[in-house]
Structure formats: structure tokens, C-alpha cells
């Protein structure tokens, strides 16, 4: 089965490479976001919107998604679509459960990465050497991983005290860090509920109170990957395999080797994401505890335009909606409706000025819809909160998909010697 995603793109879609555009720094976006959220908090009085507790939950919810997205980045930059991320994360959780229980949290992390790499090795074997369609292989790996994790959990944890056929005994979390002086001061400042200042304070409080060492590790992984992929010869060659494997081959790059390295790294990082869920978020292994975060990570990466900075933004967005639902429930999410409405109005104005009348109208209508929803209700049902990240993804992709540019040879079959 061959895939040709390029050919199925709409005929009218402009090639992103031809549209010159100014790059707006990630810091500007973050600042705009902060001001907007702060304004919504002050206007609606929903303080849980960005309390330190919500922020910490956001960090904890974002890290596994960001790791999944980073895993996707590695693989797709080398031209291998990795929909098997979910499966590799599942393998990571079971690996973390087993090694974490018997040998401690750090062994759990390593075990999770190794287990993720086993799934990745399958994916690499199928896609790189046998030219199997990447999505097919990924779907198969997700099925295998789900079964393998359930089977291994039954085999490994059934007899243990506190464990059972579907879950492990409680696991120790890796070391977490609290900076006592700063943490308390910031919480005090946050409770004043001042515009901007309190919001910044709760942000600082969140990262100085019980910050998991795995979060630090995740940040190092993301920054390290960004440097490695964009600032070294190795990274250039790896990315060239995703853009034009034929050209890379003609320059003497061993495309198969780079693809395999990229996919294995991807599996290890996805496994680490699984370890975070098992060891830090839950403190236990449970069947099905990844809950589709591998897919969400994939969406976060696409949302982030296959760039490290972008995928962090995407992950934080998803992590935030996740956290808000957990911490604050329907009322805080309700406050966000007006935020969405404001953002959509802004998008509509931008699109209108660019001359995209139909797109602008669509954004405007959806934005007004959100505003109406905000003013006619008091709370958002939990089921709707649960679907927020998914609806957001669809909206963002629908509004911005044509500005996104994936690696040119992503998902395409490549065989050695194809260049002739």
C-alpha cells in the first residue's frame, strides 16, 4: 500500500514554503497568553484558572504530552510517521512499573525507555527495511503494545501485595525538588490576586514546589534535542532524511541508519513519557493509563509545526485544559470560553486583514458561538471539559493547517538505491 499525502492536499492550498512570513517569537506569544489569561481571571473571578495548583498540574500533564510530541518530532524529522507513539508509551508504562517496583524509580525510567525502544525497533524494522506503510505499522504496534502490557501486567503483578492483574503495587516517584523560601513567598503573592503579578507568582510557585526531577529531565531532553537536531551536522543529516532521502543518499548519508537511530530515539523518549505517567503522575502502573496521550502528543507536534518550540506550546495548551478540568472543574473551564471567543475574534481580524474572507467569517461565527455559550451558561459539563483538548486540536488544525509544513518526505516510502 502506498501513501501519497502530498497528492491529496487541496489544490488551492498555497505551498507554505512560498509564503513569506514574519516569525513571532515564542516569548511574545507566551506574554500575550499570560495577559489574556490574567485578564480573564480578573474579569470572571475564576481564580483557579491559573492558581499555583493548576499550574503545577499543568506542568505534570504537559510533560508526558511534550515527551510524546518530542518522540514524534525525532521520528518524523527523519521521515517516519510514528502513530505507534501511543503503543510505545504503553510499553513505557509497563516497563516503568516492573523495573520501578523491583529496582527503584531511576531503573524504572531506564526500563521504560528500553521497552519503548523495543516497540520502536519493530516500527523501524517494518517501515525502514520492509517499506511497510507507516500508519499501518503504527496501528499494529499500538495493538501489540496494548496486548503485551495487559498480558505482562497480569503475569508480573498478579501475585504481588497491592498489585493485581491490571495494576502494579504503588511505585516510588523519582526525587522532587522544592525551593522553600521562594515557593512560600510566591504562594502569598498569588493569593493577593493582582493583575499579571499574581499570575506570574503562581507560575514561579508552580515550578519551585515539588518539581519532579523527571520534569527537569524532560526539559533537558527537549532543549538537547533542539540543539542536536538544528545545530549539529548529525541533526542536519537526520533532517535531510526527512526532507529528501534521495538527495541525502547522493551526498553519502546512510539514510537507513539515520532513520533507525531516529525511530529508536523516538521510542526511548516515548517510553520516558510513559514512565512519567506511571511514576510521577499516578505512582502506580494501571492498564490503559496513557489514555491516548500518544495521539495527543502527535497532535501537539503537528500543532507546533514540527518544531521544538511549537510542540512545547502545543503540549502546554493540552496539558492546561487537562489540568483545569482536574483541578478546577466546570466553572474555570467556563471562564475559558470567553478566552477562546477573544482569541477567535483576534484570528478573524487577522484573517480579514489578509483578505481571507471565508476563513475570517468562519472564525467569527465560531467565536461568537463561544461568546454566546459563555453568556448563557454558568458551567461546562465534565464531558465537555474532557473533550476540550480534542476540539482545540481540531479547531487549531482547521484554522492553521495550511501554515503548517511537515518534512517533505514524511511518511513516504524510501528504498536504498532509489536514486539510481
Amino acid at each position: 500500500m502506498t501513501m501519497a499525502p502530498e497528492e491529496l492536499r487541496p489544490a488551492g492550498a498555497p505551498s507554505a514554503a512560498l509564503v513569506p512570513r514574519r516569525r513571532i517569537s515564542i516569548w511574545v506569544w507566551l506574554l500575550v497568553g499570560l495577559v489574556l489569561i490574567s485578564a480573564v481571571r480578573v474579569l470572571t473571578g475564576a481564580n483557579e484558572v491559573d492558581s499555583a495548583g493548576t499550574m503545577r498540574e499543568t506542568v505534570n500533564a504537559s510533560v508526558p504530552i511534550a515527551l510524546a510530541a518530542l518522540a514524534g518530532l525525532w521520528s518524523e524529522r527523519a521521515g517516519v510517521v510514528n502513530i505507534g507513539l501511543e503503543g510505545m508509551m504503553i510499553l513505557g508504562t509497563i516497563g516503568a512499573g516492573y523495573f520501578g517496583y523491583w529496582y527503584g524509580p531511576w531503573a524504572g525510567i531506564v526500563g521504560a525507555m528500553v521497552f519503548g525502544m523495543i516497540g520502536a525497533a519493530l516500527h523501524a524494522l517494518a517501515t525502514v527495511y520492509f517499506g511497510v506503510d507507516h500508519i499501518v505499522s503504527g496501528v499494529a504496534i499500538n495493538i501489540i503494545a496494548l496486548g503485551a502490557a495487559a498480558f505482562l501486567a497480569d503475569t508480573w503483578f498478579s501475585g504481588l501485595r497491592g498489585g493485581g492483574p491490571t495494576q502494579s503495587p504503588p511505585l516510588d516517584a523519582p526525587l522532587s525538588i522544592t525551593l522553600p523560601g521562594i515557593s512560600d513567598a510566591m504562594i502569598t503573592l498569588q493569593d493577593k490576586h493582582w493583575f499579571i503579578i499574581s499570575d506570574l507568582a503562581s507560575l514561579v510557585a508552580a515550578v519551585t514546589t515539588q518539581l519532579s526531577s523527571m520534569t527537569v529531565l524532560a526539559v533537558i531532553l527537549i532543549v538537547g534535542s533542539a540543539l542536536l537536531l538544528w545545530r549539529t551536522g548529525f541533526g542536519l543529516r537526520l533532517r535531510s532524511c526527512g526532507e529528501s532521502p534521495v538527495a541525502a543518499e547522493s551526498l553519502g548519508v546512510n539514510v537507513y541508519r539515520y532513520k533507525v537511530i531516529a525511530v529508536l530515539t523516538s521510542g526511548a523518549i516515548a517510553g520516558a513519557g510513559g514512565a512519567f505517567i506511571a511514576l510521577v503522575s499516578s505512582g502506580i502502573y494501571q492498564n490503559g493509563q496513557t489514555g491516548g496521550r500518544g495521539y495527543i502528543g502527535l497532535a501537539a507536534m503537528i500543532f507546533g509545526n514540527w518544531r521544538p518550540g511549537g510542540l512545547v506550546m502545543g503540549s502546554v495548551l493540552f496539558g492546561y485544559t487537562d489540568a483545569l478540568q482536574l483541578r478546577a472543574g466546570g466553572e474555570a473551564v467556563h471562564a475559558l470560553l470567553i478566552l477562546v471567543a477573544i482569541i477567535l475574534l483576534g484570528v478573524a481580524i487577522l484573517q480579514f486583514r489578509r483578505g481571507l474572507k471565508i476563513a475570517a467569517t468562519t472564525s467569527l461565527v465560531i467565536g461568537v458561538g463561544f461568546a454566546v455559550w459563555f453568556f448563557t451558561t454558568d458551567t461546562v459539563p465534565a464531558d465537555f471539559t474532557r473533550m476540550t483538548p480534542y476540539v482545540t486540536t481540531l479547531l487549531v488544525l482547521g484554522l492553521a493547517a495550511q501554515r503548517l509544513r511537515m518534512p517533505a518526505a514524511d511518511g513516504l516510502r524510501y528504498r536504498r538505491g532509489q536514486a539510481g
Binding site: 500500500m1 502506498t2 501513501m3 501519497a4 499525502p5 497528492e7 491529496l8 492536499r9 487541496p10 489544490a11 492550498a13 502513530i83 519493530l122 517494518a126 520492509f130 517499506g131 511497510v132 506503510d133 500508519i135 499501518v136 505499522s137 496501528v139 499494529a140 504496534i141 499500538n142 495493538i143 501489540i144 503494545a145 496494548l146 496486548g147 503485551a148 495487559a150 498480558f151 505482562l152 497480569d154 503475569t155 492483574p165 491516548g292 495521539y295 502527535l298 497532535a299 503537528i302 459539563p381 464531558d383 465537555f384 474532557r386 473533550m387 480534542y390 476540539v391 486540536t393 481540531l394 488544525l397 482547521g398 484554522l399 493547517a401 495550511q402
Partner: protein, 369 residues
């Protein structure tokens, strides 16, 4: 030529057989590594199923088959409809609510409910189609998102309209005159074949006719093989994308109906889930061929049914079968690729041999590429 055809059939069968053997070997290796009983596993899996289990296998296979068909229609267009799961959840929920109203008498109620389910499935799938052709959003991502949204949306609506019976929250029961009775297939079995599993047979025939005997089917296959060639021959690819996703969604809408009308009579929190993903695997296994998918569905259904005995007979977790099923899917696509390469090499050698007898100087294997 007769000999060549035999070889061709052998090559076509080689891949699935190879895949099943590989999957069994890998499964046994995992069992060995985990210290479980391999012989117990094999003897349980290959034991002859009792008559009531045969009926179960057929019932589940018919449901899986519909799911496989839905996925296959997309695959033929090079569209990955991962959203079969969400489409059938939305469809069966709506059909359950509609049928329970009892606005129409007996069988007419069933028929209109089937149409409602197909419509809902098609509409839910069309979201992904429209996003793809107007905004360039990959259907893989959008259908995954739509699956998650469907789960939350049906849960929300169920809370709104459902009635609670014990621990199960479900829609109101369908009126008795709209229940579809079972078919007594085996006299020794206490259970019956689901009446609406006949939808699977009809679906299979419809799929075969649509793809191979209709203009639309030709356009679909042409677009799947080469979108640019399809455009050149005047096919509106964008329209094809939306329409084929909608047909795929309409078929997905049928998946839950045999159970709804023949067994549960209402849609509740315990309604069977996860069939959509299994359907993708089954479609891959059957190479999108209507008969191949039937084999795939029967195989998956057989493995799942037999796995229920594993815990009792061999103290092996039934989840091991999920590993086998996943490995079969991966192995079968790899095997097809290996067989394809082997066949290409074979053809190249043949052509080279023929060329070398007529014009020895020009014969290179490259010429046949």
C-alpha cells in the same frame, strides 16, 4: 500459463499463512519468556470450539466484518479512517434513541433506524472529509480527535436521556415489536445467530459491487492508485475524498446494530467498544478484499473466542491473544511486501531471460522497472 497461475495463487496465500505462523512463533516465545505454558496455550487455541462458541464466533465475526468493510473503503482511497470507532458509537447511540421512541411500527422502525445510523455515521465521518479537502487537515489526526470527542459526546448525551438500571446507564429499551430475532443455525447451541448479522453479508456484496462494478468504484480505485492520474482523467478528487469517507462512515454506522436490535435492545455504558480499531486490523489482514476481510474477521473472532478459555485451561492471561493479533497484522503486511519483492524479482528474471534470447545485448533487469 496454468503453472504460473498456480504459483500466483500460492504466492497470494503465502503471505497470510506465513504471517500466522510467525505470529504463533512470536507468541510462543513471549509465553516461554514469561514462564507460561506454551503447550497449554496451543492446545486451548486449537481445540475444537463447542457449538455455542461457533455461534459466538460467527456473531462477532459479522460485526468485525462490517467494521473491516468500513475501514477498507477508506483504504482503497488511501484514506486512513481511524475514526470508525467514533462513527459507530455516535451512530448506534442515535439509532438506539430513535428506535426507542417507537414512532414507527415494528420492522419499519428497524429499517428507518438503520438509515438513521448510516446517516449519523456518514455525517460524523464527513467532518474529517471536509476538514481534509478544505483545510488540508490529515484525516488520521482529525479522526483520532473525532473518536475522543464522540466518546465524550455520547457519554454526555447518555447522561441527558439515559435511564439508570442498577449500575448500568442506558437509553430506553426499544419496543418489543422492533426486536430482531435470531437465526437458529445449530440445533445443539443454546444461542442464536444475530438477525442483523445479515447486514454483514449484504454489506460485503454491496462493497464488491460498488468497487468492481460501478463508475464510482472505478473512480475510487483510480484515485487510490494515483491521485494525479485521477485528476487528469477528470475525477473530482476532493469530492471523492468526502464521499468515500461518508460511505465509510455510513458502513461504520451499521456496526453496532446487530447487537442493538438482537441482543442489548438499548445503548448503555456497557455497550461493546473497540470494534473500530479491530476493523482496521481485519481490513489490513484481508487486503481490502471482501472475501479476504471475511477471513480476517473470522480469524480474529476465533482467536478472541478461544482466548476466553485460556485462563481456566492453561492459566495464561487471555490478553496474550491481542499480541498474536497485532503481530499477525504487522507480519502480514511485511509478508506481502516480501512476497511482492520476490514476485518482482521473479518477473524481472523471467523478462530478462526472454529478452536475452531475442536481444542479448539489451537485457538488464533494470529495463523492467
Amino acid at each position: 500459463m496454468g503453472k504460473l497461475d498456480l504459483r500466483r495463487i500460492a504466492l497470494a496465500l503465502a503471505a497470510p499463512v506465513l504471517a500466522i505462523v510467525v505470529a504463533l512463533v512470536i507468541t510462543c516465545l513471549i509465553l516461554l519468556a514469561a514462564g507460561s505454558s506454551v503447550s497449554g496455550f496451543l492446545s486451548t487455541i486449537f481445540s475444537v470450539p463447542a457449538e455455542r462458541n461457533v455461534i459466538n464466533i460467527l456473531n462477532n465475526a459479522s460485526i468485525l466484518y462490517l467494521s473491516g468493510l468500513a475501514a477498507a473503503i477508506g483504504f482503497r482511497m488511501n484514506l486512513f479512517n481511524i475514526g470508525v470507532e467514533g462513527q459507530y458509537q455516535m451512530a448506534v447511540f442515535t439509532a438506539a434513541v430513535f428506535a426507542a421512541q417507537g414512532w414507527l411500527p415494528g420492522p419499519i422502525n428497524v429499517i428507518v433506524s438503520i438509515i438513521v445510523a448510516m446517516l449519523v455515521g456518514a455525517i460524523w465521518a464527513s467532518i474529517a472529509g471536509v476538514l481534509k479537502v478544505t483545510r488540508g487537515v490529515s484525516e488520521v489526526i482529525s479522526t483520532i480527535m473525532l473518536n475522543a470527542i464522540a466518546v465524550s459526546l455520547t457519554a454526555y448525551l447518555l447522561r441527558k436521556v439515559g435511564v439508570s438500571t442498577g449500575s448500568n446507564l442506558a437509553t430506553e429499551e426499544i419496543p418489543r415489536d422492533s426486536w430482531v430475532g435470531g437465526i437458529k443455525l445449530l440445533s445443539g447451541a443454546p444461542n442464536e445467530l444475530l438477525g442483523l448479522s445479515v447486514l454483514a453479508v449484504l454489506g460485503g456484496i454491496g462493497y464488491a459491487i460498488l468497487l468492481n462494478r460501478s463508475k464510482f468504484g472505478f473512480a475510487l480505485r483510480a484515485t487510490g492508485t494515483s491521485a494525479s492520474a485521477a485528476v487528469a482523467s477528470g475525477i473530482d478528487v476532493r469530492r471523492m475524498v468526502v464521499v468515500s469517507l461518508m460511505i465509510s462512515g455510513a458502513v461504520a454506522g451499521l456496526i453496532g446494530l446487530p447487537l442493538l436490535f438482537g441482543n442489548s435492545h438499548s445503548y448503555g455504558t456497557t455497550f461493546q467498544a473497540g470494534i473500530g480499531f479491530a476493523g482496521i486490523a481485519v481490513a489490513l489482514l484481508g487486503r481490502n478484499n471482501p472475501i479476504g476481510i471475511a477471513f480476517g474477521a473470522l480469524l480474529f473472532s476465533y482467536l478472541t473466542e478461544q482466548s476466553n478459555l485460556l485462563e481456566i485451561n492453561a492459566q495464561v492471561s487471555p490478553d496474550i491473544v491481542a499480541i498474536s493479533q497485532g503481530v499477525i497484522v504487522l507480519a502480514v503486511v511485511i509478508a506481502y511486501e516480501v512476497v511482492r519483492r520476490y514476485r518482482n524479482a521473479l518477473e524481472q528474471r523471467q523478462v530478462a531471460a526472454e529478452l536475452s534470447t531475442s536481444a542479448p545485448s539489451e537485457a538488464t533487469p533494470e529495463a523492467t522497472r
